[in-house]
């Protein structure tokens, strides 16, 4: 019985420790930006617009 209590208390203290660590390490400083950051793609999906296109026909059409 006492061993079980010791276990449960240790487990809860570990979680308390984890919480204190998370506050101290600044995880609560900015609660918005990380939620946006995780949605970004890591790989580049856009390629350079080819220089030919920039000075190419389309541009001349405009002029």
């Amino acid at each position: 019985m006492f061993i079980l209590m010791a276990f449960s208390l240790t487990a809860s203290l570990i979680f308390l420790g984890a919480y204190i660590w998370s506050v101290k390490s600044g995880q609560f400083d900015d609660k918005y930006t990380p939620s946006v950051r995780m949605l970004f793609e890591d790989k580049k999906t856009s390629k350079k617009t080819e220089p030919g296109l920039i000075s190419g026909e389309k541009n001349e059409e405009n002029k």
């Binding site: 019985m1 006492f2 209590m5 208390l9 809860s12 979680f15 308390l16 919480y19 204190i20 506050v23 101290k24 609560f28 400083d29 900015d30 609660k31 918005y32 930006t33 946006v36 950051r37 949605l39 970004f40 793609e41 580049k44 999906t45 856009s46 390629k47 350079k48 617009t49 296109l53 920039i54 190419g56 389309k58 541009n59 405009n62």
Partner: protein, 815 residues
């Protein structure tokens, strides 16, 4: 007949053309399709440049996250304007961290506004290999850049941000100021700790709640008791520390604030439990104790809604730029403002601020003092004239000689006034403290009488009853009703563009009886003016001729007329002449045109004109006066209904730094002439507020400029009006966006509704206390009753206040 010249608006473009005409980068309408790459049009070369930079770095994902996310970079600025940041005296104040190789700096960049901005600003290392990483804190609008110190200069990082349109804001105030977020961190820690203890103590006392059903092993009872005690000690010593400090501070200043009965209750709870556990006479009330502290701290968190990006404490330091261009032997160098000495020669460009009181050396200046003095028309200054600091130059580049150091200037003298040196506290007594005064003495009286009664029979019961009354009367619900009601109101205000500094402001707002308003920038929209032409309708050709003439003049009025005329200026101008203080003239298409003041054109001063003093520019063609351009300020929308509504309930005053030129309109709006005062200096405004306060008024000051700073500070509630919340606004209790000024009356009404909700919840919580105290007086307060009564009263009061406050807001259409 009068015609209106509307400004160029996006809505005028036919729908099918609209898409092509919107800038691919920033979404602004493009004036023409001259600037384009492929099928993408840009409104200016600045936007095009940013696109080219991003394109070259294969970073056009920027445009796929949100549509047209870009910001037009500032134009016409010299490239080395950040060089002062590399100065050995400035740099250590700006960078966060530096060792031999790497350096880290945090810039405030108010223009970031969307997910694309975050994406781009965190990808800076892909654009410049000298940057190691960059991290955005979006709520604070900050970007922290870590870079290679040996290869990159601090000024280059600032220039890189600026080239992308994210102009970093570095002013006198940001220097040497380090953010303090540790208070909030501490609150999180305390709540975590209290919640942890609350939950565990609750579990440990659970067997006791059910003890009537089955008996609890006495060994476990002892162990559980000691464990609970162990868990409660950090709560007593750390989590509830603020309450003791506040109560002590209250007693020292001879007031009984709400924290006094709380401290009494908390102390009684803990020490009675301690005694019961140590003597093994009971299990104590530690579950109530931890729960109480937990609820109180949650209330504090709710109350502490902070607007991280806004600052309510700004003074002139955050208005002035950090750098200025100094001329040394005809060579321009960018130096810090603080280093300015009398005798220095400085250069001020278009739209830059004059940083110190100085004398104009070269050419003519048009100084816009609207933000500093409230005068809405730019003032013309000639070489040799004295110019006060704080004005903004409109037009060409000017050269000045500094007369006084920036900290000694006329404008900054206002901050030497006493109001700025005293710590500011509300003269209005906070409602909850008034109640707690009577409450505390009432509870103490009941406790003493009840214990005296029981002492006749039994000493132990007497002491028990005394402590039980104090425990159960702990005004937890009383203490929670204010933060939750006011906090809810504060969030509702925030959603409507009215950001208040703290919950006390909401309460103070409900008690005001006098409203003092500023004119320029507060009642009128800053930078917005209507231009009307009165006289015969101008032919298209005449408009072209006028526009051709005014385009040669840098005078602000000429510029305004130029923008208002929606035709192309195509005619060459001969014999152009600008006569300072009078007007401009020239020959266009064989006709002689003059634009200028009444006198110069040989007209009699019109009596009605002099009265309402609108700015008029007269036009004559071939010596014949055709008519005049009328330039008037634009009052904010909904102003008339707002003022007529407020007029009924409050004494209204207008203090304007401007001339009487719009007096007639204002008398109409405010109802009487006596309450209007013009040509007020910043000190006048401050003195006026202090004077009416002396006559018993509770003042709400509404202003926008530096000239209102003193009055805002002296009043009970000072609200700063701003069109851009990230731009400078003087120190205040609340910041209200200009487009929501018409809701001011509703905000005041809402604050009154909120205080009545608080009164109602006081009644409810006192009913709970009466019930609890009747148990306690009868000597029947068991831990179970306490454990049920305390959370039940707290939760029901929190639910009641939050719900009714939002309901009242919905009834006022504020949600």
């Amino acid at each position: 007949m009068a015609i209106n010249f509307g400004k160029y608006e996006a809505g005028q473009i036919p729908a099918d053309q609209q898409k092509a005409m919107i800038c691919f980068h920033c979404g602004e309408p493009c004036p023409d399709d001259n600037i384009s790459i492929g099928d993408k049009s840009f409104c200016c070369h600045g936007c095009k440049t940013v696109f080219e930079i991003l394109n070259a770095n294969e970073m056009c994902d920027y445009y796929t996250i949100e549509d047209t996310p870009g910001i037009t970079p500032k134009q016409d600025l010299i490239s080395d304007r950040f060089e002062y940041l590399d100065d050995e005296t400035v740099k250590p104040q700006v960078v966060d961290f530096s060792d031999g190789k790497t350096e880290r700096v945090t810039f405030h960049s108010p223009t970031m506004h969307c997910a694309s901005c975050i994406w781009l600003l965190e990808k800076l290392h892909e654009m410049d290999s000298r940057i190691y990483s960059s991290v955005v804190n979006f709520p604070r609008k900050q970007v922290t850049i870590t870079y290679n110190r040996e290869e990159m200069k601090l000024s280059e990082t600032a220039a890189l941000l600026s080239s992308l349109g994210y102009e970093p804001l570095v002013n006198l105030d940001t220097v040497g100021k380090r953010e303090q977020s540790s208070a909030e961190k501490k609150l999180y820690l305390k709540i975590g700790l209290a919640g942890f203890a609350f939950g565990n103590v609750m579990i440990l006392s659970f067997p006791e709640y059910l003890s009537r059903v089955g008996s609890v092993d006495p060994t476990f009872k002892t162990v559980f008791g000691y464990l609970s005690l162990l868990l409660s000690i950090p709560i007593l010593l750390f989590a509830s520390k603020d309450y003791y400090q506040s109560a002590w501070a209250g007693i020292k200043s001879r007031t009984v604030n709400i924290d006094v009965p709380i401290t009494l209750g908390i102390g009684m709870l803990f020490f009675r439990s301690l005694w019961e556990i140590l003597t093994q006479t009971g299990v104590g009330y530690l579950d109530s104790f931890t729960g109480l502290v937990f609820f109180l701290l949650v209330g504090r968190l709710f109350q502490q809604k902070t607007y991280e990006v806004l600052s309510f404490e700004r003074d002139y330091k955050s208005f002035f730029p950090l750098s200025v261009t100094r001329m040394i032997n005809n060579i321009e160098a960018v130096v810090t403002v603080l280093k300015q000495k009398p005798g220095d020669r400085i250069v001020v460009r278009n739209q830059e601020l004059i940083p110190a009181d100085s004398v104009l050396l070269k050419t003519e200046a048009f100084i816009d003092y609207s933000f500093v003095s409230g005068e809405s028309t730019p003032v013309t200054k000639n070489a040799g004239d004295f110019i006060y600091a704080g004005g903004r130059q409109a037009g060409t580049t000017i050269e000045l000689e500094v007369i006084k150091e920036p900290s000694q200037s006329y404008l900054t003298q206002l901050w030497n006034n006493d109001v700025f040196n005293k710590p500011r506290f509300s003269r209005l007594n906070v409602m909850v403290n008034q109640v707690s005064h009577y409450f505390t003495f009432g509870v103490l009286a009941i406790a003493i009488i009840a214990s005296l009664y029981w002492l006749q029979f039994d000493t132990a019961t007497g002491i028990k009853v005394f402590t039980a009354v104090l425990i159960v009367a702990c005004p937890c619900a009383l203490a929670l009703s204010s933060p939750f009601a006011l906090g809810t109101a504060m969030r509702i205000f925030g959603r409507k563009g009215f950001y208040v500094k703290n919950t006390d402001t909401v309460e103070a707002l409900s008690k005001i009886n006098t409203i003092v308003m500023d004119k320029t920038g507060t009642l009128t929209e800053s930078g917005q003016e209507t231009i009307e032409f009165s006289g015969d309708r101008l032919a298209h050709e005449d408009q072209e001729i006028i526009k051709s003439l005014v385009q040669h003049s840098t005078h602000p009025l000429s510029q305004k007329i130029f923008q208002a005329l929606d035709v192309d200026a195509i005619h060459p101008v001969a014999k152009f002449e600008e006569i300072s203080g009078k007007g401009i003239q020239g020959h266009v298409s064989g006709r002689e045109i003059k634009l200028g003041s009444t006198k110069w054109l040989g007209l009699q001063e019109d009596a009605t004109d002099a009265e309402d003093m609108k700015t008029r520019v007269f036009l004559s063609i071939n010596e014949e006066v055709i008519g005049s351009f009328l330039i008037a300020n634009v009052f904010r929308k909904g102003l008339r209904p707002l003022l007529s509504d407020l007029k009924k309930q409050f004494s209204m005053f207008l203090l304007s730094g401007d001339t009487e030129r719009e007096k007639a309109t204002l008398v109409n709006l405010f109802g009487s002439e006596e309450n209007l005062q013009f040509r007020q200096t910043p000190e006048n405004k401050l003195d006026f507020v202090s004077r009416v306060q002396g006559e018993g008024a509770h003042v709400l000051m509404v202003g926008d400029g530096l000239n209102d700073a003193g009055a805002l500070r002296a009043s009970e509630v000072g609200i700063a009006i701003t069109d851009d919340v990230s731009a400078f606004s003087p120190a205040s209790d609340g910041i209200l966006t200009g487009k929501n000024l018409h809701l001011l009356g509703t905000f005041i009404k809402m604050s009154k509704a909120t205080t009545s909700v608080i009164v109602a919840s006081f009644v409810i919580s006192i009913i709970y206390n009466v019930v609890g105290v009747s148990f306690a007086v009868a000597g029947k307060l068991s831990p179970l009753v306490s454990a049920i009564l305390m959370p039940a009263s707290s939760i029901s009061v929190v639910a009641f206040t939050t719900f009714t406050t939002s309901l009242r807001a919905r009834m006022m259409k504020l949600t």
